[in-house]
């Protein structure tokens, strides 16, 4: 390709970024990993994010859901799709804003639904359905990030053996990033474990100086892949989840000291 042609292409791409050839754009998209939305963490991953077309095994808890929520939001912010196959069916307050969850003196039950920045959440009927849901979503190629969380469904509910092979194949076909919350990392291109540092929790004090609410927590994330072993320390805010029943504003009445 001549230098002039290359320059012309560059000029067109700069002036009309949406007019790039589809094949080229798709190739770029697949080559680009899925960002977690946390720069320090992206740096610890090979390629700078969750790999597309490959399986990532993430050890559950220890802030895994928080990071994957951030990744989902980053994906949606980029105009792509994310899906959670939530077999555990835990109600995740992280999709709503903290203010909406504060208890109110108003006893009327008014429900607010959350759509912005929330991925498509699927509640599978059983373990097998959860795996099939994940496979379908991955294979269709329309989801950039699919998270599978089946640990709460049954003992040893995570995909195993041939199930993992099948899911890995679907991931490769679809070209999205697939994250399984599982303690075992067989067949995974990237294995991630996050751990809460108990000494890294910063507490918000009550009026009498005693710890009242956790404010921040330090998370240690270790990413391992073939020829890759990196660690990152990130500090995540702890979303308050106020359980106080006091309806009066002002003085904090929490704790045994009232």
């Amino acid at each position: 390709m001549s230098a002039q042609l290359r320059a012309l292409r560059q000029l067109i791409a700069d002036r009309f970024p949406d007019a790039a050839p589809l094949a080229e754009r798709d190739a770029n998209r697949v080559a680009r990993p899925v960002s977690t939305g946390i720069a320090a963490l992206d740096a610890a991953f090979p390629g700078g994010g969750l790999p597309r077309g490959k399986l990532t095994a993430w050890a559950p808890e220890g802030g895994a859901a928080a990071v994957l929520r951030a990744a989902s939001r980053a994906v949606i912010a980029a105009g792509e799709r994310a899906a959670w196959v939530d077999g555990a069916r835990t109600a995740m307050a992280g999709w709503a804003s903290a203010e909406s969850l504060a208890p109110s003196g108003d006893r009327r039950e008014s429900w607010r639904e959350w759509t912005d920045g929330v991925p498509l959440v699927i509640h599978p009927t059983d373990r097998t359905s959860a795996l099939r849901c994940a496979e379908l979503l991955l294979k269709c190629g329309a989801f950039s990030l699919v998270v599978l969380d089946v640990l709460g469904m049954a003992p040893r509910a995570e995909p195993m053996g041939t199930e993992t092979v099948r899911l890995a194949r679907a991931t490769r076909e679809g070209g999205g990033a697939f994250v399984v919350l599982t303690p075992s990392g067989s067949m995974a291109a990237l294995r991630v474990a996050a751990k809460l540092d108990p000494h890294g929790v910063r507490w918000r004090r009550g009026p009498w100086g005693e710890p009242a609410l956790p404010a921040e927590a330090r998370i240690e994330v270790r990413a391992r892949a073939l020829g890759w072993n990196a660690k990152a320390r990130i500090v995540l805010p702890v979303a308050p989840y106020d359980v106080r029943c006091a309806v009066e504003p002002g003085v904090d009445r929490r704790g045994a000291g009232r």
């Binding site: 109600a91 709503a96 969850l101 920045g117 498509l120 929790v201 507490w203 100086g209 702890v238």
Partner: protein, 514 residues
């Protein structure tokens, strides 16, 4: 569109509006020259009756001549035919025309009506005697007089009724004379008399062939089927109908075949099958969404929608949406609502871009149901504080992180909540936010009857340590499920009641921060 009106002075006594052969002998005979015949209202005093002959797509003059011939052959003398693009003009030409066949050319409708008295419109829907008198009072006697008035003037003086008649006097008539004939929806069937079968694979094979024809026809019409009816004809000549409905309308054979297969797997028939029929019950226009070809969301929207439709059809799972409220009890503040498929389709078609700041951080994950734990506590300022706990696990289940015994490194609390008084199911709880080696956990205990919430020395022993650690002289208390006597009737806390040391407590894990 050309209307042919036939007026026959000899026909009376048949219900107006009737259509088809069974209504009137003349109407039945007229069906020989046109596909539709509508019997209109009879004239005042029974002088005759008007018939509408559907000449759409036919040579109107030829149809008119044939209709007149048939009328004459049935002995109805003096019949006349009017042809016009406006029904009102055709009707007037038939009733009051000078020749046996009067054809009013396009654009001359108003001029044809103009010299005629307003009474020629007496059989039209806009006519009323009161209106005729009112018009006569102001000197409007002919259709031309009325048509010459302005629309505003007519509307102001004679209202909507007057406006309707004014339009007719101008030869403007938008009545729908012939009802639309609904198109027969695609269907296919196959019967065999030599044998009977109940083998689902054979039945599916036949259904697949029928489905192929139906889907081809649907695609040709640019439609998708919403509901199919699958009818089995059994050897005992009875029939069994099953309605098949997908998550979304579709003309995709593979999608319908999956649903048919699932239905056949569930179905138990009382006898062998000798025939299968498939019929489309309702259709939807083929979706052709408009969008930006360069938008990745638009490119892959159909694939995402298909995947969701498939997992919904196969009952693998359902898409849900989070809803929050401000209830005092955490488990009642969050709930998942199953989404309708159209909501899911709207979400996946337009993934959207989130604007502004994106909140991140650890947030509480609530268990579907609070999980009972066996708690060891220490007393701090008259309140039992969690020290360590053991989860009660089902057979074969593993504790979170595989650690059945969990040490509490720091505990913040208690936060006391009383709720449900207005619902008649009072709940009193003490919540503790606990730090363990692995996670931040939200624990609570149900406060039983007669539970204290304060003691006198609480303020003095408030600790300033970063982690709320208990002093060594705090009394350790262990409760277990074997010891527990929870009566399921917790009461609201009374601050003045002293806690009974023998009172046993029930502790639960509500959730954890993740």
């Amino acid at each position: 569109m050309t209307f042919v009106a036939l007026w026959s002075p000899g026909s009376t006594g048949v219900a107006p509006g009737a259509e088809g052969a069974g209504a009137d002998p003349l109407a039945a005979a007229l069906l020989a020259v046109a596909p539709h015949v509508v019997v209109a209202e009879s004239d005042e005093g029974g002088r005759g009756r008007l018939y509408w002959v559907d000449a759409r797509g036919l040579a109107a003059r030829q149809v008119a001549a044939d209709a007149l011939g048939i009328t004459t052959s049935l002995g109805h003398e003096g019949a006349r035919v009017g042809i016009s693009r406006a029904p009102v003009v055709a009707a007037v030409a038939a009733r009051h025309g000078a020749a046996r066949i009067v054809s009013v050319r396009r654009g001359a409708e108003a001029a044809y009506l103009a010299p005629r008295p307003l009474s020629v419109l007496a059989t039209t829907p806009g006519w009323s005697p009161k209106l005729a008198i009112a018009l006569a009072d102001v000197g409007v006697e002919t259709c031309g007089d009325l048509a010459a008035l302005g629309a505003d003037a007519v509307e102001v003086r004679f209202g909507a009724e007057g406006t309707a008649l004014w339009k007719l006097a101008r030869g403007e008539d938008e009545r729908r004379i012939f009802a639309l004939t609904p198109r027969a929806l695609p269907s296919a069937s196959l019967e065999w008399l030599e044998f009977q079968t109940d083998d689902p694979e054979r039945l599916l094979f036949v259904a697949n062939r029928l489905l192929e024809r139906i889907c081809e026809e649907l695609r040709a019409w640019g439609e998708m089927a919403r509901v199919l009816t699958l009818r089995f004809t059994l050897a005992d000549r009875s029939t069994v109908d099953r309605k098949i409905r997908g998550a979304r309308a579709s003309a995709d054979r593979a999608a319908w075949l999956r649903l048919l297969r699932a239905e056949l797997e569930r179905l138990r028939l009382p006898d062998g099958v000798t025939g299968i029929a498939l019929r489309v019950e309702s259709v939807h226009e083929l979706d052709t969404p408009q969008g930006d070809l360069f938008d990745q969301g638009f490119q892959s929207g159909a694939a995402a929608e298909s995947a969701i439709a498939r997992l919904t059809d196969d009952e693998m799972g359902r898409a849900v949406r989070l809803a929050t409220s401000a209830h005092a009890l955490p488990e009642k503040r969050l709930r998942w609502r199953a989404m309708e498929f159209r909501e899911v389709a709207a979400v996946v078609r337009e993934p959207g871009r989130e604007e502004g700041e994106r909140p991140m951080g650890l947030s509480l994950r609530l268990l579907p149901e609070p999980r009972r734990v066996i708690m060891t506590t220490r007393e701090r300022r008259g309140t039992p504080m969690p020290v360590r706990y053991r989860e009660r696990l089902a057979e074969g289940a593993r504790a979170r992180r595989g650690l059945p015994l969990v040490e509490v490194l720091a505990a913040a609390g208690p936060d006391r909540v009383s709720a449900g008084l207005e619902e008649g199911a009072t709940v009193s709880r003490e919540y503790w936010t606990c730090l363990t080696e692995e996670a931040l956990v939200l624990l609570f205990r149900d406060l039983p009857l007669g539970t204290a919430t304060t003691t006198s020395d609480e303020q003095a022993t408030a600790t300033s340590d970063e982690q709320a650690t208990a002093t060594s002289d705090e009394r350790a208390t262990t409760t277990s499920d074997e010891q527990s006597t929870g009566n399921g009737q917790p009461a609201t806390g009374n601050p003045q009641v002293t806690r009974d040391p023998d009172q046993l407590e029930l502790w639960f894990v509500q959730g954890w921060w993740d």
